[in-house]
């Protein structure tokens, strides 16, 4: 068994908690309960024949007045940077999250989720630039969610 701490980062209301909920419990809710502090969940999975146990830290999202405290980052092997496709500014914000995260964990890896793809009209998908290691996800419709986590683990794996 290999245990890893990973975390989800991004602005508030982008769907971090929902992605974890989808991945860990295969459930979704339309209610919005903003996360305070941090909530930790656990998920076991097998990747390339190796047993993993993820300790997934769901950290409160950044708001215009408050950044995510970097204390939480310590010791994480990787992070999922989450943005909300309906709020372009949350995509722009990801680089800063990545930067702050890497400053604490220079050896860690990141993947990105452009979440809530279910809310985007098909035509506007074309105008969205999707960088490497970025997944179009929907916690609501379960699109690319487990792929997102598994890709991160695969990239963390020794």
């Amino acid at each position: 068994m290999i245990r890893k701490k990973i975390l989800l980062l991004g602005d508030f209301h982008v769907g971090k908690t929902s992605l974890i909920r989808r991945y860990v419990d295969n459930a979704f809710s339309d209610d919005y309960l903003t996360t305070i502090g941090v909530k930790i969940s656990k998920k076991a999975l097998k990747v390339d024949g190796l047993d993993f146990e993820l300790l997934i830290w769901d950290i409160e999202g950044a708001t215009p007045v408050k950044k995510i405290p970097t204390h939480y980052f310590a010791g994480a092997a990787g992070a999922i940077l989450v943005a909300d496709l309906t709020r372009p500014e949350t995509i722009k914000g990801l680089d800063e999250h990545a930067l702050r995260f890497h400053a604490v964990n220079p050896k860690s890896v990141c993947v990105r989720a452009y979440n809530k793809v279910d809310l985007i009209p098909e035509e506007s998908l074309g105008s969205i630039d999707i960088p490497p290691d970025t997944f179009l996800t929907s916690a609501k419709d379960d699109i690319n969610v487990s792929l997102l986590f598994e890709t991160l683990v695969r990239r963390i794996a020794p």
Partner: protein
């Protein structure tokens, strides 16, 4: 006293600030503790603590610090070395006072998150009842010091400081924790949460301190881990000593393992460590007679205790290990405004960090030579131009010295021939010449040093340049192979496998006959990327993106495109060449839906749209690392 502490809190919401204010406090405390070394009772100590805090809150803290500085600095050094235990005891009361008020709220918040995880039958109300309000930590500490029963060790944990991952765990008999992994993680989370809380909270709530009844936690924070022993009573001195010794032994033996622990619980060492701990627990508990059995502790309480006591640790930790370093770094920061890192290696100091320009470099060096008269190792990043300018200066000064020596020599010869010169004068001048000559030699030595350093730096730069160009090297090679193929994109090196007739409408598995063409392209592609040692280490992933035509609804398309990519990926990964080159391990698939459909004269070519794209991504980190290595 509470009021005073509150006032202190009002002054600073910032953790850094609090730390800054706390450190001088420690000085004062230590002094008190030193003066009263004979007495064990913390009554006295705590009274002076109150007094000190009071004085502190009123007077100019800087002045106080300055006044105490000369007495305390050397004292601290010895104190830390000799009395680690005592230090904790001294610290406990004020830390309690300063931090406890935040604890209650934080705990409540966190409990809401964790209470599902802990025993259901204990409601929050019941837990709260266990948290007794106290106004001072004194009696607690006294307990620690003066009560002496024989305690039984129930559990020992080793938790990685940074990540909160549990490295090893051993329990005595039927003591057990529901989910030790989660407890360890939450413990490290709560610590962070509180740190943050201290910075944020503005309202002042009741001062409370958690009483932990008869149970006791013994925590050692060392480098990369917490070592935690949970006992059913306060351990007596002898026991504490033994636990200390044991922890020290573990630390010494497994230091590297702990700091490099990457979460892999299969590591041989873990079994070994757990065995060692088990033996130790058995050894300790053997001597505890059955009759003295203490009430069995509740797991919930254990959870809570670990959480609470870990909170107290960052500061104590700082004090133990980094106090001196912290002070020196502070001093350097204040005097030069540079953020340098100090460390000790063996018996010498190592200075690292980045220096922006010549002026700072000069300042820093003169300060460092004052701070470390016995010398230090310099690992500073200095801009090349600074080295060059120092080099220039040296050359100048050597030239000047040279001139001076030769004039003197000339004079000397002159004088010597004039026989009237007396011995004393001759000797004086000779000494002067010798000194100057030595000076000159030294300068020459330094000059050679700088010249060597310059040559090395320049060689590094040219090596680094090659690594930095890795991307254009790959693009050039791909361009040569696919150059005229309209499906190849010169700009980013991706290959858009359109017109391949890969997929039937609505189908996710590719047509077998079209795969042969794809195979050829792919094999060429990975050969260029992975077939040579020059580029191979820097290729991080090869991405297969699946696409659909724009018919159908988006969600179906997203799923379909992901399935297409996945199918193609597993086909490509199964190719023998892919395995041979290790491409199978770095293949990634993504579904892009109907993004970027292929248009021909304004109409979509649906068959062409149903396709996959191949792209490569470089490992920036590996490149950076090679760059750094080449610059070392």
């Amino acid at each position: 006293m509470i009021e005073r502490v509150n006032r202190l809190e009002f002054e600073c919401y910032d953790e850094e600030e609090i730390r800054k204010k706390l450190f001088p406090l420690f000085d004062t405390l230590l002094l008190a503790s030193l003066e009263k070394k004979g007495g064990r009772t913390l009554e006295i100590l705590s009274r002076s603590i109150a007094e000190i805090i009071a004085r502190k809150a009123q007077s100019d803290p800087e002045e106080l610090g300055r006044a105490l500085q000369p007495v305390i600095s050397p004292a601290i050094k010895d104190e830390i070395a000799d009395n680690r235990d005592q230090m904790i005891d001294v610290l406990y009361p004020i830390l309690g006072g300063m931090i406890a008020r935040y604890v209650t709220n934080a705990i409540r918040e966190l409990l809401e998150t964790i209470d599902r995880k802990i025993e259901e039958r204990l409601s929050f109300q019941k837990i709260k009842r266990k948290i007794k309000a106290r106004l001072s930590g004194v009696s607690e500490t006294e307990l620690l010091l003066e009560e002496s029963f024989t305690a039984r060790i129930l559990s020992v944990f080793i938790v990685q400081r940074e990540s909160g991952l549990l490295i090893a765990e051993s329990n005595w008999g039927d003591t057990e924790i529901d989910d030790p992994q989660m407890v360890a993680s939450m413990a490290s989370a709560i610590k962070d949460f509180i740190n943050d809380w201290i910075r944020e909270t503005r309202e002042v709530s009741e001062v409370q301190l958690v009483s932990y009844g008869t149970s006791s936690l013994y925590i050692e924070s060392a480098g990369s881990v917490y070592l935690i022993a949970f006992l059913d009573r306060e351990p007596d001195y002898e026991q504490r000593e033994r636990i200390n010794e044991f922890f020290a032994k573990l630390l010494k033996k497994y230091q590297t393992f702990f700091s490099e622990f990457d979460g892999d619980s299969r590591a041989e060492e873990i079994k070994e460590i757990e065995r060692t701990i088990n033996e130790f627990i058995a050894q300790i508990n053997e001597h505890v007679s059955q009759g003295e059995k203490a009430g069995s502790p509740v797991p919930v309480r254990l959870v809570l205790l670990i959480l609470l006591l870990l909170i107290l640790f960052p500061v104590a930790y700082l004090l133990y290990r980094d106090y001196r370093v912290y002070r020196l770094e502070e001093e350097i920061r204040q005097k030069t405004s540079l953020e340098v890192k100090l460390a000790t290696e063996g018996d010498h100091w190592v200075v690292s960090g980045t220096v922006p320009d010549l002026r700072h470099y000069d300042e820093l060096r003169s300060l460092l030579s004052r701070l470390f008269p016995q010398g230090y190792v310099e690992r500073l990043n200095v801009p090349l131009y600074v080295l060059e300018s120092l080099h220039g200066k040296l050359v100048d000064s050597i030239r000047k010295n040279k001139g001076e020596v030769s004039t003197l020599k000339e004079d000397f010869r002159h004088l010597a021939t004039e026989t009237a010169m007396d011995r004393k004068a001759t000797q004086r001048i000779r000494r002067q010449i010798d000194r100057l000559q030595k000076n000159l030699d030294r300068l020459r030595g330094t000059l050679q040093d700088y010249q060597k350093r310059l040559r090395r730096e320049k060689a590094k730069l040219s090596r680094a340049e090659k690594i930095a160009k890795i991307r254009s090297i790959i693009l050039e090679k791909l361009g040569k192979t696919f150059g005229n193929d309209p499906r190849y994109h010169r700009k980013d090196g991706s290959f858009d496998f359109k017109n391949g007739g890969l997929f039937a409408e609505g189908k996710a598995d590719p047509k077998p006959q079209s795969l042969a063409k794809l195979k050829k392209v792919f094999e060429k592609y990975i050969t260029i990327l992975l077939g040579n040692p020059e580029t191979r280490p820097y290729v991080r992933s090869i991405e297969i993106d699946g696409y659909t035509d724009s018919k159908g609804d988006k969600e179906t398309n997203l799923r379909l495109s992901a399935a297409r990519a996945e199918h193609v990926k597993s086909y490509l990964a199964s190719l023998p060449l892919a395995k041979k080159l290790g491409a199978d391990r770095i293949l990634i698939s993504r579904g892009m839906g109907s993004k970027d459909p292929i248009l021909v004269e304004g109409h979509e070519d649906a068959e062409a749209s149903r396709r996959i794209k191949i792209a490569f991504h470089l490992d920036d980190r590996a490149i950076l690392k090679s760059l750094q290595d080449s610059l070392k």
